[in-house]
């Protein structure tokens, strides 16, 4: 096939990703001349919708950015609003948030590992075909996913767009018996997640290592999830608010999602590979053992092996959720009230009514697919004046394009069909959520005459 030195790879509607996007690779004179990830999901304007809404409506509205990872949007928006008000939540509330987040990581990673990513390694179209070959594997994925959803329903009230999360904590603390009852399915899920690591670590991986700048949260002593400072493999160590200044976004024609660079220059990667590279020593004991047994070193730079890292994070999420379930005490009160400033107070601070800058807060948490940060400015009545939301997939667009370039460069001897499949896989490696980033992904491989 690739006797032809000029061709292009185009996937017009990429499957098994969340949202709508396309991929375009052009090879001229035997070398890769052009690579583009097009995000053509309709623009969704969430930042504009939030302006004028009250702070306590933010978590529910922001959740609607993504049906796959609504908890991430709720957690980052709560963190940002609480930062604006200068309020810290109790340890019990933070633990309950972490448990809810474990549920989302479980359901989202199980969906990605078994339904979106694994079929690629068997050359299959989907998990239904995979089930015909290996029914027990797909059953295992479904049961893991179900346990994640069960946690989200118990703590959050609903699996897609939970209703129990509010700025300051929760509307109602779940009953102790209901939370403790999660231990039984979680023990089974822990076994299933360990089996998942064994299963995926036996897949065949293309031999590609990429030079990423990794960015993730760091929460001393714990694998990062709902709180932490932002660190990078290039030495960055800052607060979410500082990171929001450093991560500069750029709007390009091929995407309804904005591209991010550190200091406006350096592309960077967020997500499981980054979390693992920067925090692997903080994994829970069985997750650490599973990673070692799977042959992962201190870091992993092969994007195709992200499925192994995701599986290790499944083990972590089960172990961490079990610890939180076994030590759960209902937080009293279930939420901390926000000191919504009054216009009168703003005046007593020596400011003029209507001209105060409002309260600004930033929050960052680890969505299953990477760092998600929000910045809000809230006025004296508690209404949102400005909102900025930067999802992981927007930040990952540039490294995804760099990966595509490597895949194309190293795959010049593959057939057109094989190269197309590998290019699609290269995008799926990063579990892009295009609905989050704007909303759709589409990949094409075509031969230039």
């Amino acid at each position: 096939m690739t006797h032809n030195r000029n061709y292009s790879v185009d996937v017009g509607a990429l499957a098994r990703v969340e949202g709508e996007g396309a991929l375009h690779v052009v090879v001229r004179d035997g070398s890769v001349s052009e690579v583009a990830l097009n995000i053509y999901e309709p623009p969704r304007f969430f930042e504009a919708f939030l302006v004028g809404r009250r702070y306590d409506e933010i978590p529910d509205i922001a959740a609607r950015i993504c049906g796959i990872c609504p908890v991430a949007y709720q957690m980052s928006s709560c963190a940002a609003a609480e930062d604006a008000f200068g309020v810290a939540v109790s340890r019990q509330i933070q633990d309950l948030r972490r448990l809810l987040y474990c549920g989302e990581w479980l359901q989202s990673h199980a969906l990605h590992v078994y339904f979106l990513h694994a079929p690629d390694f068997f050359g299959l179209e989907d998990a239904v075909a995979l089930a015909e070959r290996d029914h027990s594997a797909v059953e295992r994925g479904l049961s893991l996913k179900k346990t994640g959803n069960k946690i989200m329903e118990t703590v959050g009230g609903r699996a897609v767009h939970p209703v129990n999360v509010r700025v300051g904590g929760f509307y109602k603390a779940p009953a102790q018996a209901a939370v403790r009852a999660l231990a039984e399915p979680l023990h089974r899920a822990l076994d299933a997640s360990l089996e998942t690591v064994r299963w995926v670590s036996g897949f065949d991986f293309p031999d590609i290592e990429n030079d990423y700048t990794f960015v993730s949260l760091r929460d001393p002593g714990r694998y990062p999830m709902e709180v932490g400072r932002v660190v990078s493999s290039s030495g960055l160590d800052c607060t979410p608010a500082e990171f929001a200044e450093i991560a500069v976004e750029e709007h390009v024609a091929r995407s309804t999602a904005l591209h991010s660079r550190l200091f406006g220059r350096e592309p960077y990667l967020t997500g499981p590979l980054s979390r693992y590279a920067l925090n692997s020593e903080a994994l829970t004991p069985l997750a650490k053992e599973a990673a070692a047994a799977a042959g992962l070193g201190r870091e992993c730079r092969n994007p195709f092996k992200s499925i192994v890292v995701r599986a290790v994070e499944l083990v972590f999420a089960c172990e961490e959720a079990l610890r939180l379930v076994e030590t759960y005490e209902a937080p009293v009160p279930p939420a901390i009230n926000m000191p919504v400033p009054t216009a009168a107070r703003a005046l007593s601070d020596g400011e003029q009514a209507g001209t105060s800058d409002g309260l600004v807060g930033a929050g960052a948490t680890e969505a299953p697919r990477g760092l998600l940060f929000h910045v809000y400015e809230i006025d004296a009545e508690g209404l949102v004046r400005k909102a900025r939301i930067v999802p992981p997939t927007a930040q990952n667009q540039l490294p995804i394009e760099a990966d595509l370039r490597r895949v194309a460069e190293t795959g010049l001897d593959l057939s057109h069909d094989e190269l197309t499949r590998r290019a699609e896989q290269a995008v799926r490696n990063h579990d892009p959520c295009i609905s989050c980033a704007a909303h759709f992904l589409d990949v094409t491989v075509e031969t230039v005459p």
Binding site: A15, P43, L111
Partner: protein
């Protein structure tokens, strides 16, 4: 809503396509969230187009199309016509497809301002000034509500189709489910604004069950009196701006809610 016009064609399994327009993917995810039923379901129907699940694409026509999302671009307005032409029975799933969804907030604003506030280069962005439900563009055979849909209601719609009967999906308000759940009324007992009296049941009264007011994500019930509720909320101290926000959220463009929110918008 009506029952399927005719039972599935031929002896084979009915073919199914799942489509996405402007949306969050949450309603189609609800299909994959049927963990206990999914493998039986994909054996009972023939999934021919479902990009979130499979890269295999089989051309239409399809017996059943499940449509997620609202129409917000000129391209999508054309695409839904093609979907309708290739579908015998078209079901909208969720608040976006059925009422324009959260995207419908743009219908009350200037989208040019939105583009300018989110994107540095507005010239790159193509979008319509409105978010409209699928029914504003093509005939729809059944509308399933919710933000997101209740996955068991989704299963009921598919099961009913397979059995050749009408889906059993209630049109009564959330209050009825709330009473059945033995909740204390958050509106009466705590003065918490709640859209339960005017919102369609189906979620299981989730929000009042955790002590907060319903925010109407299933849209208006079959028969509603929004003005009476607004008057009650006003007596409890809600100002017009709050009433606008309460009625203008996840189903802002459902006609009953749109009318009520406009009546308080000065």
């Amino acid at each position: 809503m009506t029952a399927p016009a005719a039972p599935p064609s031929g002896p084979g399994r009915p073919s199914v396509a799942v489509w996405k327009f402007a949306s969050c993917d949450g309603c189609q995810l609800s299909l994959l969230d049927l963990e206990d039923e999914l493998l039986a379901l994909v054996a009972a129907v023939d999934i021919r187009y479902f990009l979130e699940m499979t890269r295999a694409v089989v051309e239409g026509p399809y017996d059943i199309s499940l449509v997620e999302g609202s129409i917000t671009t000129a391209h999508d307005a054309e695409r839904i016509q093609a979907v309708r032409e290739s579908s015998r029975f078209l079901v909208t799933i969720g608040a976006c497809a059925t009422a324009g969804g959260i995207q419908g907030l743009r219908n009350y604003a200037d989208v040019g301002d939105y583009v300018a506030s989110v994107y540095a280069n507005p010239g790159y962005i193509e979008t319509l000034s409105t978010s409209t439900p699928i029914s504003a563009h093509v005939p729809v055979d059944f509308e399933l509500r919710g933000c997101p849909v209740n996955r068991y209601q989704l299963l009921e719609v598919l099961t009913a189709y397979l059995a050749g009967r009408a889906p059993r999906v209630p049109g009564f308000p959330v209050c009825q489910e709330c009473k059945a759940a033995a909740n204390v009324c958050v509106l009466v007992a705590a003065g918490t604004p709640c859209l339960g009296p005017v919102t369609r049941a189906g979620c299981g009264a989730l929000c009042p069950s955790v002590g907060r007011g319903c925010f109407g994500c299933f849209g208006p019930a079959a028969t509603v009196n929004t003005a009476a509720l607004a008057s009650r909320l006003t007596d409890d101290g809600a100002r017009p701006a709050e009433l606008v926000r309460i009625f203008r959220s996840f189903t802002a463009n459902a006609p009953e809610f749109a009318r009520e929110s406009r009546s308080h918008d000065s």
